[in-house]
């Protein structure tokens, strides 16, 4: 089954680890040990307004929101075993 989802995307080349975004949208952005954002989960519900604000306020314009259709029956692969 296909489902339309919104994902927050970081351009890791542009991002300079100001960490601004994690303060604006803590629901879906955590910071790694070096201050670079880790996106957790989709852009939905209460997080949506915050995610949009983070996109607007990122000093490096490194964030964007992408819409995509995903096959919800197919798990996303990982090399972890």
């Amino acid at each position: 089954m296909a489902k339309r989802i919104l994902t927050l995307i970081v351009d890791p080349i542009k991002c300079d680890a100001y960490g601004h975004c994690a303060e604006i949208a803590p629901e879906i952005i955590a910071l790694d040990p070096w201050g670079y954002p880790i996106i957790r989960g989709q852009v939905a519900g209460a997080a949506k307004a915050h995610a949009e604000m983070a996109v607007r306020q990122c000093p490096r314009q490194a964030l964007s929101i992408k819409a995509s259709n995903v096959d919800v029956d197919r798990p996303v692969g990982s090399t972890r075993r």
């Binding site: 890791p12 670079y36 972890r80």
Partner: protein, 421 residues
């Protein structure tokens, strides 16, 4: 029946000349510059039924990639990837040295399929010998081909062979990957959409264009089914490049290079590939056969690890080298890979903290999927597979600090770097 298809008729001491090449493989008939839709449709169909996948490591279906580029409104340009950025790989250079015209034939076919104006062959700036040989092969074909071919020499480093890094090089001379927010997305340089295919992939297209996709996948009385080039190195007496039929057991393939003694593990694919345990030696060397052991054929690299060295130290050497090869553009790669390498080095030498394997796995989870290119994910894959395949050694290091083999000589092919142990 030998496995030779790509290397058919090659002479061990010299390149197949254009005349010899045509004698071995027959002439290649392509439509003229203005193209021919019926020919293109039929050729794409043959590529599709062949099942050919990219030999640079990605193993993505070539027909799908060609169709995607051909469907773009922008005009196309063909790029042959002969960068061979993997230090343990030699197969593209060997193919170019012995059968350059098969690569160029395939490039002409692919260029015609996407309506390319020209063909650019990328050879690393530290590989002059192959650049000279290809230069000569191109000169020998003058007047034969519809589309002009030229050689470009990007910087010879690991990530320079990545598609977007090649595009970046064409545009600005910088061999740095670009960020692609979604896939598939066209790779564009100089206003053209690029079709980038590995040299071995191109050579296979040269065979499919002559004999068809069915022949290519199943072979005939004198030719094996689908073959692939492998570069075998490590604890072997006769390292080198071999053409093998897909499905040959990994053990038979390793035997070609005459292993020296006990085998602790085999690194498959590349330095961003996967370690597999010696139990994989009994399995067929094919995508599914190796997937059963968590492995992937990647760029055809097979590194045999002897039982007399410390696998953790060897893994650390690769991780450190890969960390140094980061293009330094993305934080998680720039800072995360050195930390990962440091943690493995600590585990190798007994300077680690408690639960070092746990914290290494946590670090791989933090870093996964966060680079602009797949470089960090490759290192993560390699490290995770090491922790799995060498779990006993990891436990030994964890509890007894070290294993007594840490200082042993390395089996890896790595450009000069600082001695770690």
């Amino acid at each position: 029946m030998n496995g030779y298809r790509l290397l058919e008729g090659v002479n061990p001491t010299s390149s197949l000349s254009l005349g010899e090449h045509i004698e071995v493989h027959g002439p290649l008939n392509l439509p003229g510059k203005r193209g021919n839709q019926a020919w293109a449709d039929a050729m794409l169909h043959e590529l599709e039924i062949s099942g050919l996948t990219g030999r640079g490591g990605g193993r993505f279906p070539t027909a799908t990639k060609v169709a995607y580029v051909a469907s773009q409104r922008r005009k196309g340009r063909m790029v042959v990837n002969l960068m061979e950025g993997e230090p343990a790989s030699q197969k593209d250079s060997v193919l170019a040295a012995f059968a350059p015209h098969l690569i160029l034939d395939g490039a002409q076919v692919l260029a015609a399929l996407i309506g390319a104006d020209r063909i650019v062959i990328c050879i690393a700036d530290d590989n002059d010998r192959i650049a000279q040989l290809m230069e000569r092969a191109i000169a020998d074909r003058r007047g034969l081909d519809e589309r002009p071919m030229e050689i470009e020499r990007p910087h010879g480093r690991y990530v320079a062979s990545e598609e977007t890094a090649l595009a970046h090089f064409f545009d600005e001379g910088a061999s740095l990957p670009r960020f692609r927010p979604s896939r598939p997305s066209p790779v564009i340089a100089k206003g053209r959409v690029l079709l980038v295919d590995n040299a071995e992939t191109c050579a296979n297209v040269g065979l499919i264009a002559r004999h068809g996709g069915q022949w290519w996948s199943s072979g005939d009385a004198t030719h094996s089914p689908e073959s692939t080039l492998v570069t075998i190195s490590g604890a072997v007496d006769a390292p080198g490049v071999f053409e093998v039929a897909l499905g040959t057991s990994l053990g038979d393939i390793v035997a070609l290079a005459r292993p020296r003694g006990g085998i602790a593990g085999i690194l498959l694919g590349g330095y961003g590939g996967t370690w597999v345990s010696p139990s994989a030696l009994d399995s067929p060397y094919s995508p599914s056969g190796m997937a059963a052991h968590g492995g992937n054929l990647g760029a055809g690299i097979v590194v045999v690890l002897g039982a007399d060295v410390c696998p953790i130290a060897e893994t650390a050497r690769i991780a450190r080298w890969m960390a140094n090869e980061s293009a330094g553009q993305c934080g998680p790669c720039l800072f995360g890979l050195p930390r990962m390498a440091g943690q493995i080095e600590a585990l190798a030498t007994g300077r680690h903290s408690a639960n070092a394997d746990r914290s290494l796995l946590d670090l791989t989870d933090i870093l996964e999927g966060r680079g602009a290119c797949a470089h960090p994910d490759g290192v993560i894959r390699m490290v995770r597979s090491a922790l799995h395949v060498f779990a006993d050694d990891v436990a030994t290091h964890q509890h007894q600090k070290t294993c007594g083999r840490v200082g042993a000589k390395t089996y890896l092919t790595l450009p000069p770097q600082e001695e770690l142990f």
